[in-house]
């Protein structure tokens, strides 16, 4: 591996199934409404991610998590089971939590996608992230970005959730380290932080 190139950048630059538009000759645009996105052919796509419009070329089979991580380089979203059970890949689609492994990138066009990176305010942590740090709401950390996004989605629906609402809201996110008690406490704290304008 070339010196000065991170492992992640190296992995991204070889053999990824998705490419940012800048790196690929523009594929024929498939207009919505009549079209077949053919297997193996790349389709140009504009995704609205964390408030920015991002151009990306994907194959029809590309899932949203692959597009986010390998195409856009937003690796905060984690692939876990890739079968809709663990919740590590949770992102917000139009403000509601969804599994990024259960959705094609093509389907996300026109929706507002929010990843854990989108909760940052510059270099400052968002309220939910801050609360997770304060409450030590993780051990290995792999599930954390998914847990954070599930809490973010919950708080956008219920600004001051009860413990039962928190448990329900996080039911789709597994933590194999068993940090649930701290995660629930962090969710409660995040509601307070958001409520006080943090």
């Amino acid at each position: 591996m070339k010196r000065g190139m991170s492992r992640r950048r190296f992995m991204t630059s070889v053999g990824a199934g998705v490419t940012t538009a800048a790196a690929v000759a523009a594929a024929p645009r498939v207009a919505r409404g009549s079209p077949v996105a053919e297997a193996g052919r790349r389709v140009d796509l504009v995704l609205q991610v964390n408030g920015s419009r991002r151009r990306i070329a994907v194959e029809p089979r590309t899932t949203l998590i692959e597009a986010i991580r390998d195409g856009l380089g937003l690796t905060g979203t984690k692939p876990g089971c890739e079968r809709g059970e663990c919740g590590a890949c949770t992102v917000l689609i139009d403000g509601r939590p969804r599994y990024a492994c259960m959705m094609l990138a093509l389907e996300a066009e026109g929706a507002e996608v929010t990843t854990v990176e989108g909760l940052m305010r510059g270099e400052a942590l968002g309220a939910v992230q801050q609360a997770f740090v304060e409450h030590d709401a993780f051990q290995c950390g792999y599930c954390t970005s998914g847990q954070v996004m599930a809490v973010e989605g919950l708080l956008r629906q219920h600004a001051d959730p009860s413990l039962e609402q928190i448990r329900q809201g996080l039911a789709g996110n597994l933590c194999r380290c068993g940090a649930y008690a701290h995660i629930f406490a962090a969710a409660k704290k995040a509601a307070t932080l958001k409520g006080t304008g943090r």
Binding site: A16, G17, R32, G33, S34, P35, V36, A37, E38, A39, G40, E59, P60, R61, T63, E66, D70, E82, R83, G84, E85, G87, T90, I93, R96, P97, R98, Y99, C101, M102, M103, L104, L106, E107, A150, G153, L154, Q168, G169, L170, A171, G172, N173, L174
Partner: protein, 279 residues
């Protein structure tokens, strides 16, 4: 990145009519909506299909509304939208209970009622509700619409009466008289697929439907007849345990399922007795 999903073409219909024409014109085209079952199969390499029809943007299949005497629920209604719907809450609270037990929030925001029906798993959480509510499945094709009683929809394990050119448009639920009851038993509260799932209605002729105890979701007419005829719940439980045909599989054993089905029948009867608050 996994590569099991190496070949996938996605067809985007312009409208429902267009989607139905595409289903007529192309054999092997597989409809796709919330993907919460389909992507599991694709990732496992268990699905041979390569061409998919994206139904998700068809808004008219998302409708939930009273239509004359029935409540119409579009095939693309998500579990979250069932939970939020005032009409579903009022008329079919056991469907709200079932929707809350599906996966977690992320799956509830994506998975659809039509998908649960089309997937046809005997463990589908909403399916006993539809059987107990005596719902009707509305099927559409390029040549027209037809209605099939939900209890006649499945022919066997994951096989249905649908023709290859048809799509599920939605379901129609008549007024359900009596107290509704639902319970799912799984390994854990969320995310788990059921070991036994039951929906039931306490009425002069009680209705009882179960999942995960036979190749399809089933009603149990002998058990219902016993309850209607005034048999004790213990007698009905004995009948139920011989009426169902559970199997041993990765999630549970036949013996456990038979026992739990009997326990659930007892709870249904106790919790819906006159004078008890509606849960």
């Amino acid at each position: 990145m996994r590569t099991a999903i190496s070949r996938l073409s996605l067809v985007e219909p312009r409208s429902l009519r267009h989607a139905l024409r595409l289903m007529r014109d192309e054999a092997g085209l597989v409809p796709l909506a919330g993907c919460t079952d389909l992507y599991v199969a694709l990732n496992d390499g268990a699905l041979r299909a390569t061409r998919f029809l994206n139904l998700w943007p068809i808004e008219e299949l998302r409708v939930i509304e009273p239509r004359g005497p029935v409540l119409f629920i579009g095939a693309l209604a998500t579990y979250s939208s069932l939970i939020r719907s005032a009409d579903v809450r009022r008329r079919l609270p056991m469907l709200v209970s079932a929707a809350r037990e599906v996966g977690g929030r992320q799956v509830q925001n994506r998975g659809t009622l039509g998908g649960n029906i089309a997937n046809g798993s005997p463990a589908g959480d909403t399916l006993p509700v539809l059987a107990a509510a005596e719902a009707t499945v509305v099927l559409g094709s390029a040549t027209g619409t037809r209605r099939v009683p939900f209890t006649a929809f499945y022919k066997g394990y994951r096989t249905t009466v649908m023709r290859a050119d048809e799509l599920i448009l939605g379901i129609e639920v008549p007024e359900v008289e009596g107290r509704q009851w639902f319970c799912k038993v799984g390994t854990r509260g969320a995310q788990a697929i059921s070991k036994v799932v039951m929906a039931a209605v306490r009425a002069p002729h009680p209705r009882v439907a179960l999942g995960s105890v036979a190749p399809t979701v089933v009603r149990v007419p002998k058990t219902e007849a016993a309850l209607t005829g005034g048999a004790s719940v213990d007698e009905a439980r004995t009948i139920l345990m011989s009426e169902i045909a559970p199997i041993d599989d990765i999630r549970s054993t036949a013996a456990y399922r038979r026992h739990v089905a009997g326990v659930l029948l007892g709870r249904f009867w106790e919790q819906t007795a006159a004078g008890r608050p509606v849960y």
